[in-house]
């Protein structure tokens, strides 16, 4: 067993840290206040290769491993959650699912430009009427010659208004024996006639990011864009979550770290009752918990990343990592505000932004209630991983 990061991991970590600290940290508060995404973020992350970090070189990516993807997400969210959300949807939900389930032709057509950052991807599953209860989604696709005709609405979709492509799962069979068996996934060019989209405003957090809706009205999508077979949409989507959740877990770990660093800096400086507040044991207790939770959250996501590198199914481990890290990141941000006292309540300090941002991750990519159901069903023996027709490839070092 080896707990050390490789030199390659450490260099990648530093590179992403330098980018986010130098280029994003100084401007993030301004964009968070304006509730806009800084226009340079997506092109810059593409140009630096961050968007395609773990995609093989032959598909336009950087050929790093899954652990590097996690480390990058940790560094990005240590500055702002919106940066990591980009990785979750562009890389985790969209690119990696095409890599896993797509045909060679689909990989050349869609994965290559996504990995190079020339195109931006999203993952559109949730609907106004169904989130956790995903197998009950209502949007439909009907076969029509060489095309499918899509109708319906997707809601709460990150990068809806910014993306070029979205992985979209809809219903192709109304009365399937199991509702989840009637779903099919497509990669949709969002400039297709009949596709409209927009942003959702007034969000509590991820304000410097983009979250929106996508509407399909008789949108014609080539059958060649179907990812997987008809009826495989549920499995395809669950595979997407195995990767999306991993990025969320790693990112939330970065948020714990940011909350911890802000807290220790402040606790060493601020004095109350004649000494730095960090000398008071109740403050130390908060900091101790943050330290422990950071370590534990990191171990959980690194273990999931290690399993991914081996090509071993990691639904259970990834779900646990997501549940733990997001719950603890919200807790850490909340305690960081407490440590900052009234100053923490103001946007003069970053910690209130951390709290607002951490809140969302407890809900999306499978709410933490759903993660608990997953953990319990594995433990109770109700759930067992079955081999998939297309498995996520193990990490292969290409020299």
């Amino acid at each position: 067993m080896n707990f050390g990061l490789t030199e390659e991991h450490r260099m990648a970590q530093k590179m992403v840290r330098d980018f986010s600290q130098k280029e994003v940290a100084p401007i993030i508060q301004e964009y968070d206040r304006k509730q806009e995404m800084a226009p340079f973020i997506l092109p810059r992350m593409g140009e630096l290769g961050i968007l395609g970090i773990c995609i093989p070189e032959k598909y336009g990516g950087q050929g790093m491993d899954y652990i590097s993807l996690g480390l990058a997400c940790e560094e990005l969210e240590a500055v702002d959650t919106t940066l990591r959300v980009v990785m979750s949807v562009h890389t985790g939900l969209c690119s990696m699912t095409i890599w896993q389930w797509g045909t060679e032709e689909q990989k050349q057509k869609f994965l290559v430009p996504l990995a190079r950052g020339e195109k931006v991807g999203a993952g559109a599953f949730t609907e106004p009427g169904a989130g956790s209860d995903f197998s009950n989604i209502q949007a439909t696709a009907k076969r029509d010659g060489d095309d499918y005709i899509l109708n319906g609405e997707k809601m709460w979709i990150s990068l809806a208004s910014k993306a070029d492509f979205a992985l979209v799962t809809v219903r192709t069979q109304k009365n399937a024996a199991k509702p989840s068996g009637g779903l099919t996934a497509f990669i949709v060019d969002l400039t297709t006639p009949g596709v409209t989209r927009g942003d959702i405003h007034g969000k509590l957090g991820v304000r410097a990011g983009s979250t929106g809706w996508i509407n399909f009205q008789d949108a014609r999508v080539p059958a060649a864009n179907r990812i997987g077979e008809e009826g495989e949409g549920f499995k395809v989507t669950m595979s997407a979550f195995d990767n999306g959740r991993y990025t969320v877990a790693a990112g939330a770990t970065g948020l714990i770290r940011a909350a911890l660093e802000a807290s220790t800096d402040y606790a060493n400086e601020r004095k109350a009752f004649g000494r730095p507040i960090g000398q008071h044991q109740l403050i130390q207790s908060k900091i101790a918990h943050m330290t422990l939770n950071y370590e534990a959250a990191q171990l959980l996501y690194l273990k999931a990343g290690w399993l991914k590198n081996q090509g071993v199914r990691n639904t259970k481990e990834t779900s646990a990592a997501k549940w733990f890290a997001t719950e603890k990141s919200f807790e850490a941000a909340n305690e960081a505000i407490q440590i900052h006292g009234a100053y923490g309540f103001s946007d003069e300090y970053n910690v209130e932004r951390y709290l607002r941002n951490a809140r969302g991750a407890v809900i999306y990519e499978g709410s933490n209630e759903i993660q608990q159901l997953i953990q319990a069903s594995y433990a109770l023996g109700e759930r067992k991983d079955k081999a998939l027709r297309m498995e996520m490839p193990a990490y292969e070092e290409s020299v």
Partner: protein
């Protein structure tokens, strides 16, 4: 013609310096490429095309000090060499200059040697001129821009106290660059993968064909400067004009002006 960049591995700029019994220590601070040298690497990578050659990065240091070299490789340098020999322990700048000059002389067809402005640890800023002196090449220090470059010569802008100075020189020449040159690139992931796998050749004095140069500088005593109590006060509230007035009053009251 080829380019050489000289980089030093230094403690991270956040490191705390302590002196105990005449020995300087940066504690457990992580070691990084001297920040100024990233600008030198950037300049070298940008200009390699103009001379149609490779970029070789050279560092002199202890046997395991490869971090700065790997960073430079990850940024895009073609080759890296570590100059290390137990006999170099305690080298001064004159010794370092002789050793680096011998290493540069071993690289084929060098047209330009890039240095950073200074190293953030020992901070003398003299090595570029010293190396140029040993090589017998012209030195262009504090360069903020390279306006022309070809095998026939180089034209640069130097940032000096009086303003900007435009200087032309023949090649080969030694150049030290400052921040104004332009932000250094980040290492690329492809570069990182290559650098992480690279085995860096180590040249000892034997390979350079020289003896350890005798130091000419001695450090009879090394001490940390006395810590001064510094009180900071943040003036807040009111318009910028009011804040400025309060500041002016305080400066007068403290008899600073």
């Amino acid at each position: 013609m080829n380019i050489v960049v000289c980089v030093k591995q230094v403690p991270d700029s956040a490191a705390q310096l302590t002196v105990e019994g005449g020995n300087i220590s940066w504690g457990e601070a992580p070691l990084v490429i001297n920040p100024w040298d990233e600008y030198a690497v950037e300049a070298a990578l940008q200009k390699a095309g103009d001379l149609g050659g490779n970029v070789t990065v050279i560092s002199m240091g202890k046997a395991d000090e490869t971090e700065a070299l790997k960073h430079s490789l990850a940024m895009g340098c073609n080759e890296a060499v570590l100059i290390s020999d137990p006999a170099l322990a305690g080298s001064d700048n004159v010794a370092a200059a002789r050793v680096l000059a011998a290493a540069i002389a071993k690289v084929d067809d060098v047209g330009l040697v890039f240095f950073g402005k200074q190293a953030i640890d020992s901070d003398t800023g003299t090595l570029p001129a010293q190396v140029a002196r040993v090589l017998g090449w012209p030195t262009l220090t504090l360069v903020s821009a390279i306006d022309e470059l070809s095998a026939d010569g180089i034209k640069v802008e130097r940032a000096i106290e009086e303003g900007r100075q435009v200087v032309k020189s023949r090649l080969p020449a030694v150049v030290s660059v400052i921040k104004d040159y332009g932000e250094p690139r980040y290492p690329s992931f492809m570069g990182i993968r290559k650098a992480a796998r690279a085995t860096i050749p180590v040249w000892a004095l034997g390979e350079l064909g020289i003896e350890a140069p005798a130091p000419v500088v001695a450090w009879p005593e090394v001490m940390a400067p006395q810590q001064r109590e510094i009180a900071t006060e943040l003036i807040t509230g009111g318009s910028p004009a009011e804040i400025a007035a309060t500041l002016a009053d305080k400066i007068m009251a403290e008899k600073v002006l």
